[in-house]
Amino acid sequence: MTRTALIGIVETGAGNICSLEAAIARLGRRSIRLTAPSLSDVDQLVIPGQGRFGPVMQQLRKTGWENFLRDWIRADKPLLGICVGMQILYERSEENSDIKGLGVISERIEKLNSPKQPMMGWADICWRDRQADEQVYFVNSYVAPCTNDTIAYCEYGQTFSAVIQRGNLIASQFHPEKSGATGMRLLQQWLC
């Protein structure tokens, strides 16, 4: 019998993560909040999408997550980053330019040049490898540029990465846990 996957939610100390926990539970997975990197039987880590680049990074540094996450990603273990949880994978961000990110992806997060700010609402995303567009829910003022890792992109004022993938590392700029049936389907696909 296969056991139910255990998803570790990295506590970044910013905002509520109950929507994410609820979505994971609705998909039949177990989740656990992790303030520090100590668990061995976690199948996948999720960095939730609440908070700002700088404070989140500082919290990860303080709690010992920073190096742990780098090693985790280097070992190609499953990780899902959402919104700011995607952005901290990058080198730096214009949001807090004096604070270094994880630097897994050597690009810079930039301020979104959009008609309205923050970008808040539903938008179409385009997958690079399929025709079908999908509609998902975004809440952000900063974005990642499109690179080789980009597997879906979005356009609002400028084109930016909606989803990136590198091995078992997946990250989305939008909030799958808030994106209705489409979001639930993507989460189902992305979770172990």
Binding site: A123, D124, G180
Partner: protein, 251 residues
């Protein structure tokens, strides 16, 4: 490319049950908030607004418990408003699972709360609700459920709340609420076009064409309650009408 225009059913909640007031009076119990919320999500609502109109503290606690239940079941965003007076109130609702909170009288009484809330929790979760009366032709903002005129001009106040860090504006034309005469167009359209934050039109919707009109005119989202609760118009009717006019909506 623009964001998709949003259709937002609003649920007035008193003591944990959904009610709908016509022009904010005469309340009628119409159901369990979680059941209704799930139904609307299924029907294609882009997000939901819950307005807590409980008069008592007990009623507010019940509402908070409701927010937790809604957050557990819903996979679209939702806003909670009504009686929020402090950073603590906001913190508790966001902790319970609300994506955004809507400030109304408190923003008028202590505008600094908008700045503090935006700094603490981020602009994206702070909605400011502005009520106005069209018939009065006074261009002023009303408070206390639309009963009291303030000394604030709508356009100036809208600019101010945006500047203070509100992430969204919920604009309700009080004297159209429940009348079915359509959304107010002039002010709503102007603010939707001019402000750098999204504007939600509210009050007076009866037909899909009403949504077409106000969304074409500059509003980013449109909110209605009674017509959806009573099943007079479905969300898919509204979206079909919008799509027919090439207004981008979520399918």
């Amino acid at each position: 490319m623009a964001l998709l225009k949003r259709i937002i059913p609003c649920l007035d909640v008193r003591d944990g049950r959904v009610v709908k007031g016509e022009q904010f009076i005469a309340l009628k119990d119409i159901g369990d908030p979680v059941e209704l919320a799930k139904r609307y999500e299924k029907e294609g609502a882009d997000e939901l607004v819950f307005l807590d109109i409980s008069a008592s503290l007990e009623g507010r606690d019940t509402a908070r418990a409701m927010v937790t239940r809604v957050a557990r079941e819903l996979s679209i965003p939702f806003t909670v408003g009504g009686g929020i007076r402090s950073l603590d109130d906001i913190h508790r609702l966001l902790e319970s699972g609300a994506d955004k909170v809507s400030l109304n009288s408190a923003a008028l009484n202590q505008p600094g709360l908008i700045d503090e809330a935006a700094a603490h929790f981020g602009s994206q979760c702070i909605v400011v609700a502005i009520d106005f009366r069209e018939c009065a032709h006074d261009g002023v903002v009303y408070s206390h459920g639309g009963t009291r005129a303030t000394n604030k001009n709508i356009l100036a106040w809208a600019q101010e709340v945006a500047q203070r860090g509100a992430g969204e504006l919920l604009l309700t034309c009080i004297d159209r609420d429940g009348t079915g005469s359509g959304f107010e167009q002039t002010l709503t359209g102007q603010l939707g076009r001019e402000l750098r934050i999204p504007v939600i039109a509210s009050g007076g919707a009866k037909t899909p064409q009403h949504f077409v009109d106000v969304l074409q005119n500059g509003a980013d989202a449109a909110l209605a309650a009674g017509i959806f609760h009573r099943g007079e118009v479905s969300i898919s009717d509204v979206k079909r009408a919008l799509r027919d006019k090439q207004i981008p909506v979520r399918t």
